[in-house]
């Protein structure tokens, strides 16, 4: 079947099997090499993308489901201000992520910054635990995300800067 969707802001179209995993489709046909198809069960979180603005595991999304949808992969996310914020905060906290984890962790952290309100510690923990990453301790990652949140929200809880 022909699948039309928006990938990182560009209209794209491709031929795919309806049940082909989105992670495979993006890697093979659109060279989105940041995506890893590792566990194929939604456990490792190495294939996170934004689908319609929501962070999802692309290995659990069949190709037919993305017709007319908007997808942002790490390749697209890299060019956003949110990524800049997250990257700066992780650098400042001295967290070095490996090439397997960095894309997914930055995207998970970015999803928290795009929310309307400041995320709670529980929300941060739950979101970050979507990615199986042993490059940094959870407390260090939490600190880095808090730093990014402070930069984004100006340190004022729930109020405009």
């Amino acid at each position: 079947m022909i699948i039309d969707f928006i990938l990182n802001g560009e209209d794209v179209s491709t031929q795919a099997e309806p049940m082909e995993r989105l992670s495979d489709l993006l890697r093979e046909k659109f060279q989105q090499s940041s995506l890893m198809s590792d566990c194929l069960e939604g456990r490792c979180g190495k294939c996170l993308v934004f689908l319609g603005g929501h962070l999802v595991n692309s290995c659990l999304v069949p190709a037919f489901r993305v017709r007319a949808a908007e997808i942002i992969t790490y390749e697209g996310f890299k060019s956003t201000d949110t990524h800049e914020l997250v990257h700066t905060s992780f650098d400042q906290e001295g967290i070095e992520l490996c090439g397997f984890c960095d894309a997914a962790v930055y995207m998970a952290a970015g999803s928290l910054l795009d929310a309307a309100a400041q995320p709670s510690d529980d929300t941060i923990m739950e979101t970050i635990s979507s990615v199986y990453c042993r490059c940094a301790t959870p407390s260090a990652t939490m600190q880095a995300i808090h730093a990014a949140v402070d930069l984004k929200f100006g340190g004022k809880y729930g109020r405009a800067r």
């Binding site: 309806p18 456990r43 659990l60 739950e126």
Partner: protein
């Protein structure tokens, strides 16, 4: 699974019209279970998929004084983001135990409830909360208690060629609620078996009590619940032991394996002890 065709209706009428033409079509909501475990037949038969995510009615959340109504395609993360003032404790706790936040952005409440062959976590929570479901097929729609999705043998019996469209949860306040796993997930199961309980206590007396275990079969012993309703707290250790033993026997009768039946009995006892500990 070999997909013959995929329909993406934009309204319920279109979905039902497709179901009329293809009664064997597989409704697709979040698809997380099918993508991880495969379809229930597990063979290479050609299937038609009815993709429900584009139907606005199925993603709506309505709230009134008496109940909360969730469209079947409401995602689990949306339910977690509903205001904390809503009395959804057993369901919220259950959802938090399901997968990761990013998977919950895909998984839907309808998919969790209508899984074939196994009662998943939300089912036990919703059974505890006396939820009702709206089922729609070519003959029309009907509301029924969630217990109608349980067969006489205690196993799941979701009707064929039917779409689950809405879930209605009464706005009842629960003073105590819990949900916990009954051991590890077996290899051929989509998720671990779960135990849900909820109770309302007024002036030291148990006014309402629900004790449900769900896995391959569902265990709910109404006579045990009724024997405890109306009792004043604290319960005597003897009464709690009797409840544990009755729960264990009922679980065995419902073909839960012995270790799980034991855990169910222990979970019932633990809930009763917790309840009276907290109500002091």
């Amino acid at each position: 699974m070999r997909v013959e065709d995929v329909a993406a209706p934009q309204s319920l009428q279109e979905a039902i019209a497709f179901l009329k033409r293809r009664p064997q079509a597989m409704p697709w909501a979040g698809g997380t279970l099918i993508m991880t475990k495969g379809d229930r037949a597990g063979n290479d038969r050609p299937v038609s998929i009815l993709d429900l995510h584009g139907i606005p009615e199925l993603t709506a959340v309505h709230r009134s004084d008496r109940f909360l109504e969730l469209g079947a395609c409401v995602t689990l993360s949306t339910i977690l983001s509903l205001p904390g003032s809503l009395s959804l404790d057993p369901l919220r706790e259950g959802i938090r135990s399901i997968a990761t936040a990013s998977v919950r952005n895909l998984a839907t409440i309808g998919g969790n409830v209508s899984a074939h062959g196994f009662f998943m976590t939300c089912f036990s929570a919703l059974a505890c909360m006396d939820a009702a479901v709206e089922l729609r097929d070519v003959t029309g729609s009907r509301w029924a208690g969630i217990h109608t999705l349980i067969g006489d043998d205690g196993r799941p019996s979701f009707p064929d060629s039917t779409i689950l469209t809405r879930i209605r949860i009464p706005s009842l306040h629960w003073d105590f609620a819990t949900i916990r796993r009954l051991g590890e997930q077996a290899r051929d199961e989509p998720c671990p078996a779960s135990f849900s309980a909820a109770a309302r206590v007024e002036k030291g007396t148990i006014m309402e009590l629900r004790l449900v275990a769900a896995g391959r079969t569902i265990v709910r012993d109404r006579s045990l619940e009724l024997s405890l309703i109306g009792q004043r707290l604290p319960l005597t250790p003897k009464m709690i032991e009797a409840a544990e033993s009755a729960a264990y026997d009922m679980a065995l009768e419902r073909e839960l394996d012995a270790p799980r039946a034991g855990r169910y009995g222990s979970a019932v006892a633990a809930f009763l002890y917790d309840m009276q500990g907290q109500s002091r």
